[in-house]
């Protein structure tokens, strides 16, 4: 977000939206006729400008964004679990430090995204509740287990690789706060993918057992990674409208093809074989052809019947509930401090009232 030059002046608008001061931004305002507001919104989209929190927007646009950003945020924090599973068993201090930093980044990505969602007038606590009660979903890829250390490499290379391809165009999404969060996230994802590739490369060029472990990880993660781009264009429920609103810039199938084209030569460099007998370069198309995806598996996992669905949500709920006393204690402490301050005479007011209050966080 800092990367965007104009973010400074836009800040105030985003702020009020986030604060909920204008939570009902989409509601009818007495000043302007709905048709006029709709026309102004469409003008912005057509001019490829960004929609900002306090702008009028169609209710369906707002809902689509809340659903998509929340699902994206949920995916980031649920995604901490399969990788967190290996932190205590990382094979070296170097790998452990890398994995810790990566899992911390995923938490950060979740928080950037919840913050972006809150500019649309929703509350983070409500979004988390929707995740915990199954009313909102997360990416189905995180319902697969991490059975071996090589899976950590496969997740970095393939899952983060697929996420990057999905996320790069989202940096130009029509909704400003979402686009700015994506700029930040994309910068950080690149480390995620490279550490995974390096990890797999080391294994693939290690002992025969290590090579086999790397191949096994690729065998299990390849097809679920292709499913990350969502159902085929013809069956994608929201695609066309999202593209018209410029929330989305490319179709699911186009992004999936890009992923295959990028990954196939990388697999060769790893010395591993992609588990698809139909995968081959098509000179005429200038792309790789690849085999049929088993969409029934995707539907099953989406319906809650993947290998780890229940475990992932249960662990998230447990972590949230276990943390509740900490949040309550922090709030109680803050209230106590405030009461103490209020009881004191106003003697310690700064001589220069315009000076920023310094809070030492050391």
């Amino acid at each position: 977000m800092t990367a965007e030059g104009s973010a400074g002046t836009e800040g105030a608008a985003g702020v009020a939206g986030a604060a909920g001061a204008e939570a009902a931004a989409g509601a009818a305002r007495p000043g302007a006729a709905p048709r006029e507001l709709q026309a102004r919104f469409e003008e912005l989209i057509a001019a490829d400008e960004r929609v900002e929190p306090r702008d009028w927007m169609p209710e369906a646009y707002r809902k689509t964004l809340v659903r998509q950003i929340a699902q994206h945020a949920h995916s980031e924090i649920i995604g901490m679990q399969p990788e967190g599973n290996w932190i205590t068993r990382a094979p070296s201090l170097r790998r452990k430090a890398i994995l810790l930093a990566k899992v911390q980044d995923e938490a950060g990505h979740g928080l950037y995204l919840y913050a972006a969602a809150e500019t649309l007038g929703v509350d983070r606590a409500d979004l988390l509740d929707a995740l915990h009660t199954g009313r909102q979903k997360y990416s189905s890829i995180f319902n697969y287990p991490t059975l071996t250390w090589a899976d950590i490499g496969a997740i970095g290379w393939l899952v983060d690789g697929a996420a990057i391809i999905n996320q790069i165009p989202l940096q130009r999404c029509s909704y400003g706060p979402y686009a700015r969060a994506m700029v930040r996230i994309c910068k950080e994802e690149s480390f995620h993918q490279r550490q995974g590739f390096e990890l797999l490369h080391d294994l693939a060029h290690g002992t025969p057992e290590q090579h086999a472990m790397a191949q096994d990880a690729l065998d299990r993660w390849w097809w679920p990674s292709l499913m990350m781009f969502g159902p085929p264009d013809a069956e994608s429920a929201h695609s066309a409208q999202s593209m018209a609103w410029r929330i989305k810039r490319h179709s699911n199938d186009d992004l999936r093809q890009r992923f295959v084209d990028i990954s196939a030569p990388q697999a060769e460099a790893l010395g591993l074989t992609i588990p698809d007998p139909d995968l081959r370069w098509n000179e005429e198309r200038g792309h790789y052809d690849f085999g049929e995806i088993d969409w029934s598996e995707f539907q099953e996992v989406l319906a809650g019947n993947g290998p780890c669905n229940r475990q992932r949500v249960a662990q998230r709920v447990r972590a949230h509930e276990d943390g509740e006393w900490v949040r309550q204690a922090a709030l109680a402490y803050a209230a106590k401090q405030e009461a103490k301050l209020a009881a004191k005479p106003a003697a310690n007011l700064s001589e220069n009232p315009s000076e920023t209050k310094e809070v030492v966080a050391a």
Partner: protein
């Protein structure tokens, strides 16, 4: 169970010589926790040398609906721009 941790807007000075810029928000019980959370969230890769946190509820913003009347006074005063003025050809350093 809602936690009700207040929302804070975060501003970061990315390096000396630049002003603070809005980067996003955090939830925290008080200013000190907000600063710590903002440090963990927005400066993991040395993105800042100074952080401000402001209670989100304390920010007042202009309304986008008033965009035209509110900013109108600036639109018709082209004489505030140097290009408004005719300068004879050949005059330098002006």
């Amino acid at each position: 169970m809602s936690t009700g941790l207040p929302l804070w807007e975060v501003f970061i000075r990315s390096r000396r010589g630049l002003s603070h810029q809005h980067v996003g928000s955090v939830h925290a019980s008080d200013a000190e926790m907000a600063l710590r959370n903002a440090r963990d969230l927005y400066t993991r890769r040395g993105e800042g040398v100074s952080i401000w946190v402001v209670p989100a509820a304390q920010v007042s913003a202009s309304s986008p609906d008033e965009k035209e009347p509110f900013f109108d006074p600036a639109a018709d005063k082209t004489y505030r721009h140097p290009t408004f003025y005719r300068i004879p050809e050949g005059v330098k350093n002006l």
